[in-house]
Structures are given as C-alpha cells and as structure tokens.
C-alpha cells in the first residue's frame, strides 16, 4: 500500500470515528450521569435520519432539517424523561433494558406508520455536494470532510459545556457524588431531564449528519447501537473524552481491519475491546477505582 492510499484510509478511519463519537457521546452522557442503559439510543439515531429525509423533502433545506430534527429529538427526550425514564433511576439494569427495548419497538412502529419501510436518500446541502480529487481515480466527497469538522466542533462544545459552565459543573458533581451534591442543595430533576434530552438529541444529530452519505433505512440504528456501546465501554463509561478516544480507535480498527485482515474484520473491534478491558477494566479514560 502506497503512502497516498494509506493517507486516504486514515481519512476514512477518522471520518468514521467522528460519526461514532457523536452518537456515542450521547450514550455515555446518559449512561454515565443518569446511570440509565438506553437501548433506544440507536432508534433515535434512525429517527434522526428519517427526520432529515422528511424535513429536507418538505422544505428543501438541509439546514432546516438539521435544526428541526435536533429540536424534535430534544423535545421527545424531555417528554420521555418526564413520563418514563424518571422511573428508572436507581432501579436495576433489567428494568432499564426492558423499558428502553420497548421504546425501540414503539419508535420502529412510529417510523413504519410515518415514513413506511422504503430506503431513502438525502441530498447534502449544495455548497457541500462537491468532491475533491485525491488520487488519479479516487475523489472524496466534501461532505465527508465537513462531517469531520462538524463533529470536532460538536466535541469542543460538549467539552466546553461540561468543563466551563454551571450546568456542566452540576453534571460533574452529580456523576462524582450525587448525595453530596444534593445535600448542598442542587435539584437534579431538571438537570436529569436536560441531560437525557441532550443525549437523545446527539443520537438524532448523528443520524441527521450521516443521512446524506449513508442511506436512510429501517434497521440502520441496530448496528450503530452496538458500536456505540463498544465505544462507550472502551473509552470509559461516562467519559466524553473517553468516547472520543474509543471512537477513533474503533474507526481505525474497523477501517484497517477490513483492508489487512478481511476474513476476521467483523470480530476485530471486539478483540480490541477485550484486549483494552484486560488492560484497563474501566475503559481507557474511565475511573479505575470505580
């Protein structure tokens, strides 16, 4: 493999990792801060992609789809937290798995009723629809590069909110020692609601962004859900920076696994996960005492 091809594959890996990060960051927030296993995370990723398709079709604008889709997901997250997820705090994981699995079925049925089961394509915004010639016969869609940039911005925003804002401070306090924070007078009800809604919105955002380079189809959330869990566990549960490292690692493993070890590529990411967990049982950036 020559250097240029190696570079292109590296780009593929980073771009794949960027999308994984965006989806997994929402999962790790909800998992790490609320202690809730949300199996329906992949379903919201799919819903985001379908919303992108539908809103783009209705308004002709991808930007509107981006804002509208995230808003719809955020509101859905707030409603779900208020009605259902609230009941799960402190319960065992089986109850959480049952409820969120039920949500998958419900969301899938809603998708079926609203959008049907056909495969759809979404056009990227016109100013990002070009491509760059990389080698003599291979060009790279500008939109894929834009996704990398967008995910980078999203990551910076998430880090900024958690590290520098008051709500971020409350969130961190809550995940460190909830009882103590409560004693100090912090009310978690509202924070929980926003964290859950933000997690859902991030899943949908991932789905919306991926829609133009992927396709929109019924089962698309399933594999993304499994990958997201791998990323979260790999990076350390609740750690957004860990999710970034984990996502990049999975992107690299998957891309180069397909190229160099095609016959075992499907299990390679799990081998990497097992190896990392042997080395650091709580994930790369997880708290090792936990």
């Amino acid at each position: 493999m020559d250097f240029i091809t190696l570079g292109v594959q590296l780009l593929n890996a980073v771009q794949y990792g960027a999308v994984l990060f965006l989806v997994a960051s929402g999962l790790t927030l909800v998992f790490g801060i609320l202690g809730v296993i949300n199996l329906a995370h992949g379903a919201f990723y799919m819903l985001g992609a379908y919303l992108a398709y539908w809103i783009t079709l209705m308004t002709g604008s991808f930007a509107v789809a981006l804002l509208g889709g995230v808003l719809v997901a955020f509101i859905a997250g707030i409603l779900l937290e208020t009605v259902f997820v609230r009941l799960l705090y402190g319960r065992d994981h089986l109850a959480q798995v049952l409820l969120s699995f039920g949500l998958i079925l419900v969301i899938d049925e809603i998708r079926q009723l609203l959008f049907g089961k056909d495969v759809h394509a979404v056009a990227p915004p016109a100013w990002l629809s070009g491509s760059i010639q990389l080698t003599d016969n291979l060009s790279y869609p500008v939109y894929r590069l834009a996704i990398c940039v967008f995910c980078l911005i999203a990551a910076l925003v998430i880090f900024f909110v958690i590290a520098r804002t008051k709500i971020g401070m409350i969130v961190r306090a809550g995940s460190e020692n909830r009882e103590m924070a409560r004693v100090l007078g912090i009310k978690f009800d509202r924070v929980n609601r926003y964290v859950f809604a933000a997690g859902i919105a991030l899943a949908a955002l991932g789905g919306i962004l991926i829609a133009p380079i992927s396709t929109v189809f019924p089962g698309m959330g399933d594999s993304m859900l499994i990958l997201s869990f791998v990323v979260v566990v790999l990076g350390g549960i609740g750690s957004v920076a860990g999710a970034a490292v984990g996502a990049l690692l999975i992107g690299l493993t998957d891309t180069f696994g397909k190229v160099f070890f095609p016959s075992v590529s499907s299990i390679l990411i799990y081998v990497v996960m097992a190896a990392v967990l042997l080395w650091r049982p709580s994930g790369i950036l997880g708290r090792q005492d936990a």
Binding site: M1, D2, T5, V8, Q9, N12, A13, Q15, Y16, K117, D118, V119, H120, A121, S131, Q133, T135, N137, L138, S139, Y140, P141, I213, S214, T215, F217, P218, G219, M220, S223, D254, T255, F256, K258, V259, P262, S265, S266
Partner: protein, 402 residues
C-alpha cells in the same frame, strides 16, 4: 422467542380472507355439485413477510398470486381456493413453528413461501418431512433445488447461481480481463459471486480480489479506497436493499464510476433505483426480468396488476403470479383432485408457462429454466439490453430426486 411465532394469533387479514373464502364457498356451492373429494376449497397457506424489511416484497408476491386466482374466477383447475396467511417476519428462528402451524393446525394443502432464504430452508425441511406441496416464490438459496430438492418442492423465482452465472460470459465477451468482486459475507453473496466467478474465469477472466463486508454492515469506504488502488477493469457486486443503495452511492461519490464500470446481480438496482438516483446510471446487471420487457404476457400482467393494486408490478409480483399459474397447471391436469398427487406433480414439473418474464419451464430439480437478461440503468429504469443467456438451467448440484 421460539414460542412467539407459534402462539401469535392469526392476523385479522388472514381471518377476514379466510372468512371471505368460506363465505364465497357457501354462497356458490348450491349452484353446482362437484365430487365429494373436490367439495371443500383447496387451502393455500401464504407464508410471507408481511412486516419488516421484506414486507413490500411479501405483499407483491401475495398480490401477484391472488391476481392470477382472481383472473381464474377464484378457482384453479376448477377447484375453489381458500387462503390462510402467516407473517413469517423474515425470522428463521420462528420459521419451523410457523410452517408446522400452517401444515398442522391450519391444514394447508399447499404452502407458498417465502422471501428470506433462511426461512425458506426451514420451510423446505418441514415440507420434505410432511410431504406438503411447497412453492417458493423468491428465496434463491441454491440448496433448495440442490441437495434439499424433493418432488413436492417447486421454485418459481431463481437460484442464486442462475441469476449471476451468465454475467461471467457477458463481461468476458466485453473484453474485461481483471475484476474485483465485492459482497456481503453470507450465503447469498457467496453463491452469487461464486457463480459469476465460475463463468468469468472459464472464459479467461481473472478475479483480482474478492472483497467482503460482514452482513448487513454498510460501511464501504475502506473497500472502495482499496478498489481505487487495485484499478481493476470492472467491479462485480451483490448487495440488496439499503446496502445496495449505499454502496452504489458511495461508489459514485468516490468518482470510481467514471473509470471503473460497476456491474452486479440484478438485486443491486431492483427496487432501489429511486433512492440511488443519478448514482445508478449506467450500472449493468443480470436478472430474469427487466422493467421494459414488451412481450404480450408482461404488458397484460402489468396492466392487470396496476388495476388491482394501483402499483407498478415488479419481479416479485411476477414470481407470485407464476406460482399460481404453476398450481393451476397441476390442478387442471387432475381435474381439481388434489389426491392424485403424483399425476399433479408430474404435470407441474412438465409445465410450460408463458410468463411475464418470458418462457418458463422447470428442470428435474423443479428450479425454473428461464432467460437471464442483461439490463442497464437508463431513465431510472432497469432497461433490457439483450438476453444474456437464454433458457438458463441451474446444474442442481447435489439433487437426488427420490
């Protein structure tokens, strides 16, 4: 999970159609007095995916079958037909229970199904054990008319081998020497790529690389970069549904379609063209059907199908339609007497059907002998360029008919 399919009550539709069938029978029975054996309607069990990824395919097969029966006044071979319907959900783990229910509790005389190969193979097993007449209207697994063949099992669709074998010669004849193949790593993918490679290498071509991705993964970018580096004369591929749309779009987005032409199994561009849009333009595939076949049988079929359902008929509808035509030939040969099984099966095996897809007959393993067409995506349709190979007959490897 395994008991779920067994315990699930019949769908409302199935109940309705069953009731309607019974009502028709009661209403019409005083008007004629057939022999006692033919008194009850023949019960056809439709075991198809009515929900899930393949729901549209299942519905079209169902519509096609019923269209033929309607055209014959609700009878096949003079015998009234009653339907009972089961949703197989394309779940292999529930397939045996579903099939047993149709054959046992519902007492279906004939079973028609299904789309998913894994489900179909479970149905084949039950059909072999219970000697139930089974008509497969889609699933292409080579084994169904190979090692698992039986006198009471017919297929009105295709074998995976059959659909891509002719493309090997077509591409070799076009002067293509080096090809990269790419597909999902599962049975259908291996069978389709295998048949193509068999014929392509026989005609002097060379497979440079055999790329695969785990089923049903749709992240192709790494392999597309690899294709660009390998620079073959052409690429031959098999994907279906969402994966087909994504692969074709990624291939075009990488600009590879300008320098390395994309070929594939017909399913790459069937039912997916609309979502693929411009990216699909110029892709050549082989299949036993094309959107613009202008033989009278196809024109009449498309018109009738549109009138019945309001939709444009496709290959899946044709496969269902031909399933009913095949059953009609069998029942006609025995005057509607389902007990004369041997005679009926012999007549079905010897059937010559003027199908919308062109002439259709059956080999000793009961797999179709049919034309395979070379198509190209033009004007958003799979338009026929030529007959890639006429009367393609699957070798039915491993079939010992007893």
């Amino acid at each position: 999970m395994t008991t779920k399919g067994f315990l699930r009550p019949l769908t409302r539709r199935a109940m309705l159609s069953g009731t309607a069938g019974a009502a028709t029978f009661i209403a019409t029975s005083p008007l004629h007095s057939p022999a006692i054996a033919q008194n009850a309607p023949l019960k056809v069990g439709m075991m198809l995916p009515y929900t899930g990824t393949y729901a549209k395919l299942g519905q079209f097969i169902d519509d096609g079958f019923r269209l033929y029966v309607e055209q014959k006044g609700g009878k096949l071979g003079g015998r009234d037909i009653a339907f009972v319907q089961v949703d197989d959900e394309s779940k292999p783990e529930a397939a045996t229970d579903n099939m047993n229910r149709l054959v046992g509790r519902e007492k279906a005389d004939v079973v028609v199904g299904t789309v998913h190969s894994g489900v179909a193979m479970a149905m084949v097993k039950v059909a072999r054990d219970t000697k139930t007449l089974l008509i497969i209207p889609n699933a292409g697994a080579n084994d169904a008319t190979g090692p698992a063949c039986a006198p009471n099992i017919f297929r009105t669709s295709f074998s995976n081998w059959q659909s891509t074998y002719p493309m090997g010669k077509v591409m070799a004849d076009a002067g293509i020497k080096n090809v990269v193949t790419i597909t999902w790593r599962y049975t259908a993918g291996a069978e389709m790529i295998g048949a193509f490679a068999e014929n392509f290498t026989k005609n002097g071509g060379k497979i440079v690389a055999d790329l695969t991705v785990p089923f049903p993964e749709v992240e192709f970018q790494a392999l597309i970069t690899q294709i660009a580096q390998l620079k073959p004369d052409a690429v031959f591929s098999f994907f279906a549904g969402g994966g087909a749309v994504k692969f074709v779009k990624d291939y075009a987005a990488a600009g590879l379609n300008k320098t390395i032409p994309l070929y594939g199994a017909g399913f790459l561009t069937d039912g997916t063209i609309e979502a693929q849009g411009e990216a699909a333009k110029g892709i050549r595939t082989t299949l036993h059907y094309a959107d613009n076949l202008d033989n009278p049988a196809n024109l009449a079929f498309l018109k009738a199908f549109k009138a019945k359902t309001g939709k444009d008929g496709d290959i899946y509808a044709v496969q269902g339609y031909d399933g009913a035509a095949l059953l009609d030939i069998g029942l006609t040969a025995v005057g509607g007497d389902f007990n004369a099984r041997d005679k009926m099966i012999a007549a079905m095996g010897a059937a010559k059907i003027d199908s919308p897809r062109g002439p259709l007959s059956f080999n000793k393993a009961h797999n179709p002998i049919q034309n395979i067409y070379l198509r190209e995506v033009r004007n958003g349709r799979n338009e026929m360029i030529s007959v890639a190979q006429a009367d393609v007959d699957d070798p039915a490897r491993g079939c010992k008919m007893t």
